[in-house]
């Protein structure tokens, strides 16, 4: 216990802890929305496409996460737009977007002269280097999500559940879908700092899938998955620190462990 208090004295660890709490809240809310709507694969496409923006930003000397955010938002809008057009095979276009983004990213990182950025950090996350500015962004987007869900839960639910019926009911379905996919994209990009491009998707899916085993509606699913995500992230972070392991990986292990336990409990 003393050791833990001592650990909290380090600003890097405090930041890491706050970051994992904030990403847990975000991943719980946004992840439940993604899982409920069965758009996990779309979110994967957006995540990986964002690496392209990161690479270009690096090459041009912009903040990499700004580039990632722009790419993520553009691909989210693109996917939303193309899914409204009939006759487009969504899964193949997402796969193309997915690998094209990665290809652009790797190409520009390669072309960047001199110092080669820490690729591992982008791919697998680097929670111990989280800055105060990252925390501010995470807080802002988490607050936006909480407020939107509180105010518009019924209508978000109606659109997510049955978009066609919702548009018959004169709900501005397209606008709501665009806004929500932009928020999903931003949430994912901001969580990349903590989890990395490759692992971030699991942070958004595992807790939601676990919560889905028990929750009867989307709101409860969000609450449960925030809690599951908090437990998994914080314990994963501590394990990573004590055993000197990469935090992204340990967090995925703790989350999967929780999922398996809950799954077994449901079976018995």
């Amino acid at each position: 216990m003393n050791e833990l208090i001592e650990l909290l004295g380090f600003s890097f660890f405090r930041n890491a802890l706050i970051a994992s709490i904030l990403t847990s809240v975000l991943a719980g809310i946004v992840g439940s929305y993604i899982v409920a709507r069965r758009t996990v694969f779309i979110s994967g496409g957006i995540t990986h496409a964002s690496f392209g923006g990161m690479g270009i930003a690096y090459f041009l000397g912009f903040p990499p996460f700004l580039g990632a955010a722009i790419f993520a938002i553009l691909s989210a809008i693109g996917i939303e737009w193309s899914s409204n057009k009939a006759g487009l095979r969504e899964d193949s276009s997402i796969a193309i977007l997915w690998s094209l983004g990665m290809a652009i990213g790797i190409l520009f990182v390669f072309l960047t002269p001199g110092y080669t950025p820490n690729l591992m950090g982008f791919l697998f996350g680097d929670i111990l280097t989280v800055q105060v500015s990252d925390l501010i962004w995470l807080t802002a987007i988490a607050l936006i999500c909480i407020v939107l869900v509180q105010l518009f839960y019924q209508v978000i639910l109606a659109v997510a559940f049955d978009g066609e019926f919702a548009s018959v009911s004169k709900i501005p379905v397209q606008t709501i879908s665009y806004i929500s996919s932009i928020i999903v994209a931003i949430s994912i990009v901001l969580s990349i700092k903590v989890m990395g491009i490759i692992l971030v998707l699991s942070l958004f899916t595992i807790p939601a899938a676990a919560a889905n085993l028990f929750a009867k509606d989307l709101k409860k699913m969000m609450y449960f998955s925030v809690i599951i995500s908090l437990i998994g992230s914080i314990s994963g972070l501590l394990i990573a620190y004590y055993f000197d392991l990469p935090s992204g990986a340990t967090i995925i292990f703790t989350l999967t462990f929780i999922y398996v336990i809950l799954r077994l409990r449901k079976l018995i």
């Binding site: 019924q154 018959v168 009911s169 509606d217 989307l218």
Partner: protein
């Protein structure tokens, strides 16, 4: 009397594929119209046009200012594992009349309770829809269509995935509802439909309106509505007069 909705020379197409051409239809206050026709004949497209989901390529739709539609889509278009409670499904129907940013009030929640009682699921407010049988789910979606007090109820194949015993009670229910609202019922099951509805619209690229509910095999075949006809034994048969094909 002004019709609730009037379709004038509507042509509807997907890309360049014309599905409905030059159709006309009027729906009045106490109508109960059965929409029949083969698969791919344009039944669903007709509904989409009426529900504003598809913009017609040409033609005009005139809606009564008091038109309020309630819509029951085909259940197979719905994700049955979606985490949503029965109560919330029904509440989502209310946005047909209330503004979308409004939160449901007490009165509305009371109405949900009444509807659930009406369909015999009064203790299931907070159950998720995944736990319902096909027939129960159909009834819940019917409540979603009814909560906004529509004067035109549109049902798309309500008898698929429903057991025969429920089907009978569904049709009784629709008979009751027809006292307060017009009903447009799409079905492939001509046999059942003909005993329920007042008039029939046969959709197959075009639309032929029969101001009666009596249909026979001959009619169906001569107007390219190749559907099996189930006879109920004592149904009086009547041959309708010939259409004027353009």
């Amino acid at each position: 009397m002004q019709p609730l909705i009037q379709l004038n020379n509507i042509t509807a197409s997907y890309d360049n594929n014309v599905v409905l051409s030059n159709i006309n239809l009027e729906v009045f206050d106490s109508d109960f119209i059965g929409v029949i026709g083969p698969n791919g004949g344009g039944k669903t497209t007709l509904l989409k046009v009426i529900l504003n989901l598809l913009k017609p390529a040409s033609g005009k739709i005139i809606k009564h200012e008091h038109l309020k539609t309630g819509y029951l889509p085909q259940v197979n278009t719905i994700d049955k594992q979606f985490p949503i409670t029965i109560k919330d499904v029904i509440l989502s129907g209310n946005y047909a009349t209330s503004r979308w940013w409004k939160k449901p009030d007490k009165e509305l929640r009371k109405k949900v309770s009444e509807l659930l009682e009406f369909i015999g699921l009064e203790n299931s407010h907070n159950e998720s829809i995944g736990e319902l049988s096909g027939g129960q789910m159909q009834r819940v979606f019917l409540c979603r269509a009814l909560i906004s007090n529509p004067n035109l109820l549109i049902l798309d194949e309500p008898n698929t995935y429903v057991d025969k015993s429920f089907e009978a009670s569904l049709y009784n229910l629709l008979g009751e509802l027809n006292k307060d609202m017009a009903i447009l019922l799409v079905s492939h099951d001509v046999g059942t439909i003909s005993s329920m509805v007042k008039t029939i619209a046969c959709v197959n690229g075009g639309l032929h309106y029969h101001p009666s509910n009596k249909i026979t095999n001959e009619i169906l075949q001569s107007y390219n509505c190749p559907i099996e006809l189930i006879s109920h034994g004592h149904v009086p048969h009547r041959v309708l007069k010939h259409h004027n094909h353009e």
